[in-house]
């Protein structure tokens, strides 16, 4: 089998990359490989609204947002294969398997990695206790309720205040369950402020910051969890334990980019994001292999996924045409005080489409601070922000003309007043 561009994963990143690549060059043969039985990825189970404010200027639910992209595939001649699992990726071929073709290889000129991320499971959290039924990741519960139509339980405790946990607190409540508490290990929430208001405050669900689960009880089915307050080193404080009767524990404790395929093909991984190191064109350390969406770094907003993926898709299309990556001056982007990572990691000036968007996350909560951008030590941007938290991605936009005489490095830092 042959294709110009193979896109691995048909979720929001894969769909946006495919559509943008086809619009860049309509003669390209683009193939999406998706392991699920429908396109749309995680958007299918995200039935809540709030998607698309940036992309479509209206507020859509997840399935509606996905449908806007899917509707464009046929017209653009983009092919896709469902129920197809990719086994191996190289720069000019992708090997996959499904029940009709068996194992097959697609020869291609470019690959876009769009595999998304996975939830951190109980086994990775080291929660002591028994192993009863009733412990789910929040995303599994979301799929059970919203797609399969099953309620995982009636009395719920949620560990972790990431957005999926907050959304599920509301969803379980709407369907008649009692959500007794949301516990968060950190002294701040990992979710968006608006979700705390509309998912917890609206239903009087308590958010217990600096709390964690220290025991899980129940032989066949979960009967209770023991929670405790933690100190500043995240260690449980003896004497603060309280037992909460419940039949369900949902875990919303972080997302991990799913990079098994990227690693096996030798793409360089950034330890801060667990995703590939990419340049301004979203190209990885292997020429012709691009990455975008949550496989690259975990996003809060699908709109930003679509925007970045569009850029990755267009870059892949241009790569196929030129058969080479751009040459020319390279600018390194360095993480200064308070900045945990940036995407991209470096910029080839000749590869810039237009303005340079640098997205990053803070390592801590900052109040009344400044985001500074320094080029070769000289401050180019100094912007005040009332609140910066690790749970909300930040961005700076640099104009292309500001990079006309390119610096050798750009430093991004957060300073307190």
């Amino acid at each position: 089998m042959k294709a110009d561009i193979v896109i691995i994963g048909g979720g929001p990143a894969g769909l946006a990359a495919a559509v943008a690549a086809a619009k860049e060059d309509c003669s390209l043969d683009i193939l999406i490989l998706e392991r699920d039985s429908e396109l749309g990825g995680i958007l299918n189970q995200c039935i809540h609204n709030g998607f698309g404010l940036h992309t479509f200027n209206e507020e859509l639910t997840g399935p509606e947002y996905a449908a806007r992209f899917e509707a464009q595939l046929d017209g653009l001649g983009i092919r896709y294969m469902l129920d197809t699992m990719v086994l191996d990726v190289a720069s000019s071929s992708v090997t996959a398997v499904n029940s009709t073709e068996g194992v097959f290889t697609v020869d291609c000129s470019a690959v876009v990695l769009c595999m998304g991320c996975r939830e951190r499971p109980r086994g990775a959290l080291n929660i002591p206790g028994l192993r009863p039924a009733g412990v789910f990741t929040a995303g599994t519960a979301q799929r059970l309720v919203n797609i399969e139509g099953y309620m995982p339980g009636k009395e719920v405790v949620i560990l972790g205040s990431g957005d999926i946990g907050l959304i599920m607190a509301r969803r379980m409540t709407l369907e008649g369950a009692k959500v007794k508490a949301v516990c968060e290990l950190m002294p701040y929430s990992g979710g968006l402020k608006r979700n705390i208001v509309q998912c917890l405050d609206d239903f009087d669900i308590p958010l217990l910051l600096s709390h964690t689960v220290v025991d899980i009880k129940g032989k066949e089915r979960l009967t209770s969890v023991v929670i405790a307050e933690v100190d500043e080193r995240s260690k449980p404080i003896s004497g603060t334990e309280q037992e909460i009767a419940c039949d369900t524990l949902l875990l919303s404790c972080g997302l991990i980019p799913e990079n098994e395929l990227s690693r096996s093909c030798g793409v360089k991984i950034n330890p801060a994001t667990n995703g590939p190191v990419v340049n301004e064109s979203f190209e990885t350390s292997i020429p012709g292999v691009f990455a975008c969406g949550n496989v690259l770094h975990v996003h809060d907003l699908v709109d930003y996924v679509s925007e970045e993926s569009g850029r990755a898709g267009r870059s892949a299309a241009r790569y196929v045409k030129a058969k080479a990556s751009s040459e020319g001056p390279v600018i390194a982007i360095r993480n200064g005080n308070g900045v945990r990572y940036t995407v991209p990691s470096f910029v080839r000036v000749n590869g810039l489409e237009d303005d340079l968007v640098i997205r990053f996350r803070a390592g801590n909560v900052y109040r009344d601070s400044y985001i500074n951008v320094l080029m070769d030590g000289e401050t180019k941007l100094h912007r005040r922000k009332p609140v910066i938290t690790p749970g909300e991605m930040e961005q700076v936009i640099l104009k292309k003309e500001d990079l006309a005489s390119p610096p050798s490095e750009i430093l991004i830092e957060i300073t307190e007043i």
């Binding site: 039935i47 639910t61 919203n146 797609i147 608006r194 208001v197």
Partner: protein, 121 residues
């Protein structure tokens, strides 16, 4: 005089808005960064509304349920009545995105529309 502190839920910026009121009248709105935030704050102190998103049973379809939402936001205190009405109802396949599944849900005057398509078996 009474001041209420709100967090705007219109977009992920989550602006903190202060609304000052006297005798039920809004005297000032501060902290919002856009017009939507102003409207949110005014609604929130007078009559808070929310869009309800859930799923509804489908008969004769390739799937057993599709996702749906209230076409417009409904009063916050009607959320559970709206949920009850949707959970009692069902719709017939095929369903297209935007199809009206319930005309007037729980006396709110607001329709329930499909947010996902479902073909026939």
């Amino acid at each position: 005089m009474e001041t209420r502190e709100l967090t705007c839920i219109n977009c992920p910026l989550g602006c903190r808005i202060s609304v000052t009121m006297e005798d039920g009248n809004i005297i000032s709105v501060t902290g919002n960064t856009c017009k939507r935030g102003y409207l949110y704050a005014c609604n929130e102190v007078r009559m808070p509304v929310r869009t309800v998103t859930t799923t509804i049973k489908v008969t004769g379809g390739e799937v057993d349920r599709v996702s749906c939402k209230t076409k417009e936001p409904v009063p916050k205190d009607k959320i559970f009545e709206v949920m009850e009405a949707i959970n009692k109802a069902s719709c017939k396949a095929p369903v297209a995105i935007g199809d009206v599944l319930i005309e007037d849900c729980a006396g709110t005057g607001v329709a329930i529309v499909a947010t996902k398509a479902a073909g026939n078996v």
